[in-house]
Amino acid sequence: MLAETETVVPPRAAKPPLSFLQQVMAATPGDSRLEMCIQCGTCGGSCPSGPDMDYTPRHLFALIRADMRDQALSSNTFWYCVSCYYCVVRCPQQVYITDIMAALKRMAIREGHSLHGDAPDFSQTFIGNVERYGRSFELGLATRYHLTHSPLRKVGIGTLALGMMARDRLAFTPTRIQGIESLQAILHKAHELTAEAERTGEVELL
C-alpha cells in the first residue's frame, strides 16, 4: 500500500512502470476497487469453486498486492471462477472480483501462463466459432471440444449428445449471420487496436 502512494512521478517521457496491482486494476473495466480489499475472506468463503482453487480470491489478491506476478498468474484460481458473482454482492468493499478474474485470464494468456487445463482452449474454440459465423453452436462446440481434449470422457459425452440429438437440440451447423463481414471487420479492428495497445503499453485497453 505504502509503496504505491510513495511512487515518485518521473518526467513524462519515461512512463513509470506500473505495479502488478495497478496493471490488474487498469485492465479491469470500470472501477475495480481492488486496492480497497481488506483481506476479510468473504469472497473465498462464498465461492463455489473455492475448494478447488489454488488460492482463494482473497489469497490471490494478497499475492497481487505483494507483486508476486508469476505466482498469481500461474494459479488456477481465475480459471475456476464460474462468474457467479456471489463474492461481488457480498464483498464489504465492493471489489469487482469477477471482472478482475476475467482481466487476470487475459493477462495469463498473454504472458504464456495459460497452462491450466482446458479452460483457455475452450474459450478459444468458442470464440473461433463466433468469429467465423457470428453465432456459436454451443453444444456442438462442447462435443468437438471434448473429443479433442478429453477422449477418456467421450463415451459419456456421446450419450449426452445422442439424447440432445434425438430431441433436435444439437446444431450441426452454426447459423451464419448476414452481417458477418461487417462483424468480422469490427473484430478485426478490435484486434488491431489491441495489438496497438500492447505495443504502447495501454494496459487499460487490454
Binding site: Y80, V82, C84, Y85, I127, D168, P174, Q178
Partner: protein, 351 residues
C-alpha cells in the same frame, strides 16, 4: 411509435436458437397471450458468453456492442444523442442479460473503452451511444411491466398440486452494477429473490422451499472440470429432491442444460438416482394459460416432464426420440460420435 403498447427488442441468444428452443417457443407463445410486443433484433450476433472476455477485452466489447448498436438503430433511431434508455432489449438468457447490460454499463462508465469500442464498430459501419438501450431480463419484464395482476387474470388452468422448485441461478439477481446506475439490473435481493416464487404461485403451483435457488449450476465448468461442475449440479438437484419438488423451473438456458442434460451423468457419478424434470418458467406459464403442452416445447427436455405433469392432469408429449430408445446399439462405431460439422463438411455427414 403509433402503437399504444411498448415495443421491446428481443434478443434470443444462441442457445434459444437450438438447444433451448423450448424457451424460445414458450416465450413467444406467452408473449402473445400477455400482449407483450417482442420484436426480434435483426441479425443479432452471439454475445460471447464469458469466453470472449477471457481472451480479448476490446473484441469482447465490440462483439456485444454490435448488438447494442443494432438495437439502437432498430428500436431507437434518431438523433444519436444516447444516454436516455430510449429502447429496451429483452434477453431471456441470463448470461446474455448480464453480458449486454455489463457492456452498456462499462461503456457509459469508461470513456476510453467507449471510444475504442466505437472505433472498432465504425469499421463495420456502426455506432453505439452508451446508455441508449436498456437491457432487461424476460422475467423482470413480465413481473414488473406486465405485472402479476395481469398474469393472474390469464390463468385458466391452475397448476394445482404441482410442486415446483424456483431456480434463479446466478445472473438474474447478481450483480448489481455499481454506482448511480444500479437500475440497469433487476432490483431485487441478490441472494434470495422472490419474483419467480410469486409468479409460480399465481399460476397455482405449490412453490417449494428451495434454499439454493440462486446457487451456481457451474456454468461452463461442465466443459472444463467435470468434477467441479458435477458437484455444483448435484447440490442443486439434491436440494430440490430434499424438498420434494416434482419439477424445477429455470430462467436460463445454460442452467437448464446443465441440470437437465447432465443429470444422468451426475446421478451415475455420485451413485444417486435423480429424476427431476427441468423446464422453463415460460413453459409453466403457458400451461397455466391453457396453451397446449406441444406448443410450448415440452418433449425437448432430456428428463421427461410428462409423468410429473400427468399427475396434475396435463398431457405432455414424451421426450422426442424416446420411442426409439430401447437399447438398440448404434450402428456407427463409438469413435464416430456426433461431431459438429462445418458447412463445407456437411455433405459427407449422414444424419
Amino acid at each position: 411509435m403509433t402503437t399504444s403498447r411498448t415495443q421491446y427488442g428481443y434478443y434470443p441468444g444462441c442457445s434459444l436458437e437450438r438447444s433451448a428452443s423450448a424457451y424460445d417457443v414458450s416465450t413467444r407463445a406467452i408473449a402473445a397471450a400477455l400482449g407483450l410486443d417482442l420484436a426480434e433484433l435483426d441479425d443479432w450476433n452471439c454475445c460471447g458468453a464469458t469466453e470472449y472476455l477471457a481472451i480479448n477485452k476490446l473484441a469482447a466489447y465490440a462483439l456485444i456492442a454490435r448488438n447494442l448498436a443494432l438495437a439502437e438503430k432498430q428500436f431507437a433511431p434518431g438523433d444519436g444523442s444516447g444516454g436516455a434508455h430510449k429502447a429496451q432489449l429483452v434477453a431471456p438468457c441470463s448470461a446474455c442479460f448480464l453480458n449486454l447490460r455489463k457492456a452498456d454499463h462499462h461503456l457509459q462508465e469508461d470513456k476510453t473503452l467507449a471510444v475504442k469500442t466505437n472505433e472498432a464498430l465504425a469499421a463495420g459501419g456502426l455506432h453505439y451511444d452508451a446508455g441508449a438501450v436498456k437491457i432487461r431480463h424476460l422475467l423482470d419484464v413480465i413481473v414488473s411491466d406486465v405485472g402479476y395482476a395481469r398474469v393472474k387474470e390469464l390463468v385458466v388452468k391452475p397448476l394445482t398440486g404441482l410442486r415446483v422448485a424456483p431456480y434463479y441461478g446466478c445472473l438474474f439477481s447478481r450483480p448489481h452494477l455499481g454506482g448511480e446506475r444500479r437500475t440497469q439490473g433487476v432490483r431485487t435481493n441478490p441472494e434470495y429473490p422472490m419474483e419467480l416464487d410469486r409468479l409460480l404461485k399465481l399460476l397455482g403451483a405449490e412453490v417449494v422451499y428451495f434454499p439454493l435457488k440462486t446457487h451456481c449450476c457451474g456454468g461452463h465448468m461442465t466443459q472444463i472440470s467435470a468434477d467441479v461442475a458435477y458437484e455444483l449440479i448435484r447440490r442443486l438437484l439434491q436440494n430440490a429432491a430434499d424438498f420434494q419438488a416434482d419439477i424445477l423451473a429455470t430462467l436460463c438456458p445454460m442452467c437448464q442444460l446443465n441440470l437437465d442434460a447432465y443429470q444422468q451423468q451426475v446421478s451415475r457419478h455420485f451413485g444417486v438416482k435423480f429424476n427431476l424434470p427441468i423446464v422453463y418458467f415460460t413453459q409453466l406459464m403457458g400451461l397455466a394459460f391453457g396453451i397446449e403442452a406441444k406448443a410450448l416445447g415440452f418433449g425437448k427436455e432430456i428428463v421427461s416432464a410428462a409423468p410429473a405433469l400427468a399427475r396434475i392432469g396435463i398431457q405432455a408429449p414424451l421426450p422426442e426420440g424416446e420411442a426409439e430408445k430401447p437399447k438398440r446399439k448404434p450402428r456407427r462405431p463409438k469413435e464416430a460420435l456426433p461431431l459438429p460439422v462445418m458447412p463445407a463438411e456437411s455433405e459427407e455427414m449422414e444424419l
